[in-house]
């Protein structure tokens, strides 16, 4: 079973979705079977984590079959130290997001849970694919369920948000498709072997001519920067996050954004190393702008969900900054920050969602002084606020700290500016917390009920993980040491050769 574990992880949710589509007569049945399926999916990732050999940099659990012989496309899967954490994050958050939707989703439950499971399968596929064609299929296939999730179960302006999300992402990724085809032919003409094999093409990376690298890099950059989202491409994000239902926001912030940065790590760095080095200043500036600008915009938001959405722009800036520092601590910090941001922001969206179910408002001004009414909620919210602010002992701190350490080595000025972002994040999060939970009580909220057992139940794993990564990050970083080391060595070899 272990040799096919990745295929099982990809196809199990799809099978579960088909099962629900056919056999589910009531929403309740669909809801519970989707939850059971997602928990089984998560349990399946545990042997993946434990059987993973941390001492190896290369791909593990590799599966490879012929798929489309006419174009030399293979069904080729594998995980390394970077992608395995993302797979873990995906299955972990999906299970929690599904459990978190039980009361939020009131209409057309069957379709919702089917979409969630299909989405989960596509997300796992994106992180496991080692064939460009396969990767692209999963990357795009994700759009349809996400589009439906936002558009059917979203808020007031859901149609606008869904279409904007869809078209933005599509516009970015079609250029990526052209870059992939161009790589296919370039690699073919250089070696005589036409293939979409990501590893083979990555190994050739340094030998592609510079102009070609720049074009390919820009095409990839466009696709990934929209997904992350990096500064000028971020405008879809607040709309999509705010309008999406809770589970949609959790998955969007928790997993989908990570695909952009994962793409930088997996494709831009190894395949276009020279262009990547040349574009470091651009990426670093855009990252710093995202950190500061995202934070400042978050500060003035009146809607809690929008505030968290903009904070994502800011936090993801740290990830790109860390990755483009091109050193061990920067990249490891970036990956850890991806992981932590997924957990913390996911948790914040869940918390906002569950209070919204009770009050039907997300405006900060409508709240105030609820800490006394809902103490458990206030405590849990505080934990994740602190996590977002990067308080030491929480996951967020380790990630941002490593990023800043790495960034200081590579570009001290930008790192200094980025450090300001940490302060900004403290300002908007704490100020928001103060306005929502303290101060005078809004009379309308006298009957506010605290978290139910189910809600506490799904927050507990998130709390455990956020402290775990904060107190003993080695559990997670140990997976990536070797893979990141190999990546850094590859980049360093290129930059030495350039000098």
């Amino acid at each position: 079973m272990m040799e096919n574990i990745l295929s099982i992880l990809i196809f199990f949710p799809i099978i579960a979705a088909v099962f629900i589509l056919i056999f589910s007569k009531s929403g309740k049945f669909a809801m519970w079977s989707a939850f059971v399926a997602s928990v089984i999916e998560f349990i399946l990732t545990i042997p993946l984590m434990t059987n993973f050999d941390k001492g190896q940099a290369g791909m593990q659990f590799v599966e490879r079959y012929y798929w489309i012989r006419a174009l030399n496309v293979d069904y080729y899967l594998g995980v390394d130290g970077i992608s395995i954490l993302m797979v873990f994050l995906t299955t972990f958050l999906s299970a929690i997001a599904i459990l978190g939707s039980f009361t939020y989703i009131q209409k057309r439950q069957k379709e919702f849970y089917v979409s969630m499971l299909v989405l989960e399968a596509a997300m796992v596929g994106v992180f496991c694919a080692l064939d460009f064609f396969l990767f692209y299929i999963f990357w795009e296939a994700m759009l349809i369920p996400m589009y439906l999730i936002i558009g059917v179960w979203g808020g007031q302006r859901r149609v606008y948000a869904a279409v904007k999300f869809f078209l933005y992402t599509l516009a970015g990724s079609v250029f990526m498709m052209l870059a992939i085809i161009a790589l296919y032919f370039k690699y073919g003409s250089m070696t005589g072997e036409y293939t979409f094999d990501i590893l083979k093409i990555s190994a050739m990376g340094a030998r592609f001519p510079l102009e070609f690298q720049i074009i390919v890099f820009l095409a990839f950059f466009f696709g990934f920067a929209i997904k992350v989202p990096m500064f000028p491409f971020h405008t879809w994000l607040p709309d999509a996050h705010v309008e999406a239902p809770t589970a949609g926001s959790v998955i969007l912030a928790g997993v989908l954004l990570k695909m952009g940065t994962y793409g930088f790590l997996r494709f831009c760095l190894p395949i276009t190393p020279i262009a990547s080095i040349k574009f470091v200043p651009l990426i670093a500036i855009l990252s710093v702008i995202a950190i500061i600008y995202g934070g400042l915009v978050a500060m003035v938001q009146e809607d809690v969900k929008k505030l968290v959405a903009y904070s994502s722009v800011s936090h993801m800036g740290f990830v790109t900054l860390g990755i483009y520092a091109f050193n061990q601590s920067g990249i490891e910090g970036g990956i850890l920050q991806m992981f932590n941001h997924g957990i913390i922001t996911g948790a914040l969206f869940l918390l906002i969602g569950l209070i919204y179910e009770r009050t039907h408002t997300r405006l900060i001004a409508d709240y105030g002084g609820i800490a006394a009414k809902v103490p458990v909620y206030a405590t849990v919210f505080l934990i994740f606020t602190m996590g977002s602010v990067a308080l030491p002992s929480m996951g967020g701190f380790i990630g941002e700290f490593l990023v800043l350490v790495g960034a200081f080595k590579a570009f001290p000025t930008y790192a200094g500016l980025a450090a300001l972002g940490v302060i900004v994040s403290a300002v908007y999060m704490l100020w928001m917390y103060q306005r929502v939970f303290f101060q005078s009580v809004n009379p309308k909220l006298h009957h506010l009920e605290d978290m139910t057992v189910r809600e506490v139940f799904y927050m507990i794993p998130l709390i455990i993980v956020v402290f775990w990564t904060g107190l003993y990050p080695e559990t997670f970083t140990s997976y990536m040491h070797e893979s990141v080391k190999a990546l850094v060595e590859q980049i360093n070899a290129v930059s030495v050769a350039m000098k």
Partner: protein, 475 residues
Amino acid sequence: MISNLVSIMPEVLMTIFGLILIAIDVMTRKNSKSGVGYFGIFFIVLAVLASIPVGGFKIFGFGQTLVWDMYSFAFFCVFAIAYILTTIGSVDYLRDRDILKGEFYIITFFSIVGMMFMVSATDLAVLYAGMETMAISMYILAGFEKKNLKSNEAGLKYFIIGAFSSAIFLFGLSYIYGYTGSTKYAEIAYMIKSNGLNNFNIKIGMVMMLAGLAFKISAVPFHMWAPDVYNGAPTPATGFMTVAPKAAAMGAIVRFAWVALEPAAQQWQLFFSILAVLTMTYGNLVALAQNNVKRMLAYSAISHAGYMLIGVVSMNELGYQAIAFYTFVYAFMNIGAFTILSLMKNRGIIEDERLESFAGLGKKYPLISLAMLIFMFSLAGIPPLAGFMGKFYIFTSAIKSGVIWLAIVGVINSVIACYYYMRVTIFMYFKEAEYDVTVDMRPASFIASLIAVIFVLVIGVFPSFFMDIVKFMIV
């Protein structure tokens, strides 16, 4: 002698079957005319099975005016698929409008004979004969709903403009004949090779002839007839008309470009790329503004012709394979969409095919909406659906031959196109029903759309079978 017979055998077979169909039509009772269509399906499957060329098979007939090879066969398969899906999908529509006549199926059947001649022609005169056979059948199909003014208008319009385009084609042909002294592709190629393409007369001839063909694929600026005709014709006939004649004309253009223009291929790249860019962009931009789904699909059919033209521009084998593959995919997704569209009945005050009719359909008819969603996203080219594979193949061919700018225009267009396909899904899933709309799915249409859905999904995930069909074809 034998080779003559073998090369024309599929067409002969189809003609005989067509005549038998007429006899069957005479013998069937008025209310069971759909039987004629089902016999047609049986016959066309027989004809396809009987004419499979063995690997590398290529047989010329009648002094190199006609050829039967894997290429002709691949397109024959496309026509057969279009015929089968249209026949099954049209029964309910035609019955509801009281135009369920055997002629519908017989004319469609005979039009395929014409299309086969178009694709297997290696002589301009044969090409013209095939084109006319196809075109006349299409005029009748467009005007088939004789009590509907719009359908009459479509038939007449198609006829006048079609006759006009045929005349242009013939006029161009006369120039080519005058210059090269032959109508055979091989000899035209020989003349071009030895004398070059710099003669003004042959240029005029080529442009006019290609314009005549461009009419048939509704390439911009030769598209004026398309929206009205596609909109006015009975919906299942539109499904057929957007797929099969387009595939046939594409096949003819490809064979002409590949065989006759081969020595001067590079010089024609610009001509075809302008045509491709105009066709894609115009089709998509106008489709954006449509509120009638049938009309929107008519414009989208124009833009799809533009994508296929990218394959012609590529001027490499991959491009021709891509076009053939694309027509396969397009047959399934477009006829599937038209089948569902033909079943929409709005009891409100607006037309059946208005976008508003789709509002809230997702709730009322979840399975039909899911099928429509799959067709729409496949037409938009979103993986893992078949439409994506087709587009991917097309763009691959463009990048291979170095026309990257055209590939970029193509992908930008497919993003624009995505929006109007999405509008249908927006209405189906995100809006509440405004009118009392029924979709009367009866067994025949159910089977047609089910086949289309299955193939769109299967080709999307396992395209190998169809890619192998096109991979072994040699022009």
